[in-house]
């Protein structure tokens, strides 16, 4: 993983000091809340229903053990002993005091972390494949490009006041685990004919009130042209993106209203006339980033593996966890171990400080000091020797993080909803808890394959319900919570927007409706067929009849 040099360290420390001065001006009353709001948002500090919420950046979802341990310390010192991992691979603390937030930022800076641009109408945290650099099917490691984009977008003077927030995602594999087609810009890295990396650029994906799948905007962009081309897209968006209506301000609306061809022409004209001198150092910087990134020394890693289960002793619970939570690694003898933050009946994405601290220790012992955060709000130990898996699993059992439900229906994405969020119109966490508690038993006795269930507490779709196989949207109808269901969405390389199934139901009914949908799918699916494929084959009506008994 990338290691800061003194310059990276300095800019983070300076930004923290700048925010301290802004907080002091607010506390002294010399600036109003209206003036302070854009300043605090640029450092990820929200004012939620009950308290401030600080969103900490985890650039492209990569964490060292030391960083994870520091997050645990922050949870204990400034919050209520837990943190909430998010769909942008970040972490949120729900109860910080305003006066202490500069101290939190100083603590974060001490481990090469920050909260820069985790909110506001700017370029947000770059996200990527949580298996980047480890996946067996990866063509190009996206992390150096992620870091280059992080640096380019950090405090970019032209793009701090965009029409609306702006999200990038990058993948280097044909199987898209980064959901690039539902981002403002999605980048697909691949190898060209001469083995040099090329990038396909997808533009205009997004969720919220007007969900859209991104369109292929430009194919085969060489890395030396990529940053200037992205800068050209950002300038065109900044110039022509709508500012009269925040719900129509994302680039997906600009693309829809302008048309793909015309927008491509505008970007191309900007690209051709762009001053390239700011980018003369990009190739050298990309090389430096690669050289300054620690690569696991696979050969000399811990050989202990003292608690292996070599198959001689049957252990069905371990076998089930391995079957569901362990993925292939590019290096023989290694695997990728996923840690579910979705215990049956638990709060999706939450981890206690004890769990975070123990995970940091496990990463030291078993995963070359490294962890990842996934956009499905889970964690990953990316470089685990296969022979250490049993010991790792036993340690995870000890801290109640051995749930074997990755990619199953109980692996639910849920936004904070009405329990925390000022924008929410309905609860989402209690619904997720009830759903997972109900369907966990079914999962254990039936091979369901991968089914995603995402639950949003308002139309802003922070839980990505539009692209879930089973999406749930909580609304408020006449003062009563009402939940609409969508089916057929997906966020992979074949991304599609789910279709509304029928009338909304009460919160109590949601688990039952989802269970009936899953039961119907199991009854009618062909061998090896996913829920989305079954839905595409049989259509909405049979699912609707089964759901609304």
């Amino acid at each position: 993983m990338y290691q800061y040099d003194q310059l990276d360290q300095s800019i983070v420390e300076q930004r923290s000091a700048e925010f301290r001065a802004q907080v002091e001006r607010r506390l002294a009353g010399s600036i109003s809340e209206a003036e302070f709001k854009p300043l605090r948002l640029m450092n990820g500090l929200y004012l939620q229903l009950h308290a401030y919420m600080l969103r900490v950046a985890i650039p492209y979802g990569v964490l060292s053990s030391k960083q994870m341990a520091k997050l645990a310390d922050i949870a204990d010192k400034y919050d209520r002993g837990y943190g909430h991992f998010t769909t942008r691979q970040n972490i949120q603390f729900n109860w910080p005091k305003l006066i202490e937030t500069p101290d939190i930022l100083d603590d974060l800076a001490g481990v090469q972390m920050h909260a820069i641009q985790t909110s506001g109408n700017c370029i947000r945290n770059i996200t990527t494949d949580p298996f980047a650099g480890a996946a067996a099917d990866e063509e190009v490691d996206p992390r150096p490009l992620c870091e280059l984009l992080r640096q380019w977008s950090t405090l970019h003077p032209e793009f701090a006041y965009l029409p609306r927030k702006f999200k990038f995602a990058i993948t280097g594999s044909a199987i898209d685990r980064a959901a690039i087609k539902v981002h403002d810009i999605g980048l697909r890295l691949r190898k060209g004919s001469d083995n040099r990396p090329l990038t396909d650029i997808w533009v205009g994906g997004g969720q919220g009130r007007t969900p859209k799948v991104a369109q292929l905007f430009k194919q085969g962009v060489a890395l030396e042209d990529l940053l200037p081309y992205l800068e050209a897209i950002m300038r065109v968006y900044n110039r022509y993106g709508r500012r009269d209506n925040k719900y129509k301000a994302r680039i997906k609306i600009l693309l829809a209203e302008t048309g793909l061809e015309k927008l491509q022409e505008q970007v191309e004209a900007e690209f051709q006339s762009l001053d390239r001198t700011p980018f003369v150092n990009v190739a050298a910087e990309l090389q430096r980033i690669t050289e300054n990134s620690l690569t696991p020394d696979y050969a000399s890693h811990n050989e202990s593996g003292e608690l292996t289960n070599n198959g001689s002793v049957p252990h069905p619970e371990f076998d089930a966890w391995k079957q569901q939570n362990v993925k292939p690694h590019k290096v023989r003898g290694y695997v990728i171990a996923m840690v579910s933050l979705k215990p049956a009946g638990g709060i999706p994405g939450d981890a206690t400080s004890r769990q975070m601290r123990e995970l940091a220790e496990l990463a030291v012992r078993y995963s070359h000091d490294e962890l990842r955060v996934t956009h499905r709000q889970n964690l990953v130990l990316p470089h685990v020797l296969e022979r250490d898996l049993f010991a790792l699993w036993q340690a995870l059992v000890e801290i109640e993080l051995a749930e074997d439900n990755i990619d199953l229906p109980s692996d639910i994405i849920a936004c904070p909803g009405l329990d925390y969020c000022a924008l929410a119109t309905a609860r989402s966490i209690p619904i997720a808890q009830a759903v997972s508690a109900k369907i966990r038993a079914t999962e254990k006795k039936t091979d369901l394959g991968g089914i995603s269930v995402n639950i949003s507490g308002c139309i802003n779709a922070c839980a990505h319900h539009h692209v879930a196989n089973i999406g749930v949207l909580g609304l408020n109808k006449g003062g009563v919570e009402n939940y609409q269901l969508t089916l057929g969405g997906r966020n992979d390389q074949n991304a599609s927007i789910g279709e509304r199934l029928g009338p909304g139901v009460s919160g109590d009914e949601v688990p039952h409706v989802i269970e009936r949908i899953i039961d119907f799918y199991v009854d009618v699916r062909d061998a090896g067929e996913s829920l989305s494929d079954t839905y595409d084959r049989v259509g909405k009506e049979p699912f609707k009849e089964a759901a609304y008994v």
């Binding site: 040099d5 310059l7 990276d8 300095s10 800019i11 300076q14 930004r15 000091a17 700048e18 001065a21 802004q22 001006r25 010399s30 003036e35 854009p38 300043l39 109408n121 640096q151 380019w152 950090t154 405090l155 970019h156 003077p157 032209e158 793009f159 701090a160 006041y161 965009l162 300038r235 900044n238 110039r239 500012r243 004209a269 006339s273 001053d275 001198t277 700011p278 980018f279 003369v280 150092n281 990009v282 050298a284 910087e285 430096r288």
Partner: protein, 145 residues
């Protein structure tokens, strides 16, 4: 009092200009599309770019276009809804200073405006036109950008 506009320059000097004189300067709104501009539109010793909203950053990109593609050589000042916390961005995108109406100047106070010329963040990754900031990429690689 309200007819006086403060001119805060990047070099730290503060001047006063009559608002009527400011109204005579060549001016572009921040939302102006550079593609629609001709050289005659910016043929002036002093050019103003007006920020029409505190959350509208189009003026920063317009400044880069005017100074870059259109090779404007005169003095470029920001006016309108721009606050001290945005001054660093203005300087990085090439503005020579900011024109601040007396009332807005008083709202923040002279100390805050002047302090904004020496921002706490003194680094930027990509290139910067601001004398007070250093480009990290340039420092790392030693290449002029």
């Amino acid at each position: 009092m309200s007819d006086v506009v403060r001119l805060l320059k990047a070099d730290g000097t503060v001047g006063e200009i009559d608002a009527k004189a400011v109204a005579m300067f060549a001016s572009l709104e921040g939302e102006t599309d550079p593609a629609t501009l001709s050289v005659s539109d910016i043929d002036a010793d002093i050019l103003l770019i007006e920020f029409t909203g505190a959350a509208d950053g189009r003026g920063f990109s317009l400044a880069k276009a005017v100074l870059g593609k259109m090779a404007y050589q005169g003095k470029l000042y920001a006016v309108g809804c721009i606050n001290p916390d945005q001054l660093s961005m203005a300087l990085q995108t090439g503005f020579d200073g900011v024109l601040v109406p007396a009332e807005r100047w008083a709202d923040y106070g002279a100390e805050v405006w002047k302090a904004a010329l020496s921002p706490i963040v003194k680094l930027s990754y990509a290139s910067t036109r601001s004398q007070g900031l250093q480009s990290i990429w340039q420092l790392r690689h030693g290449t002029q950008s």
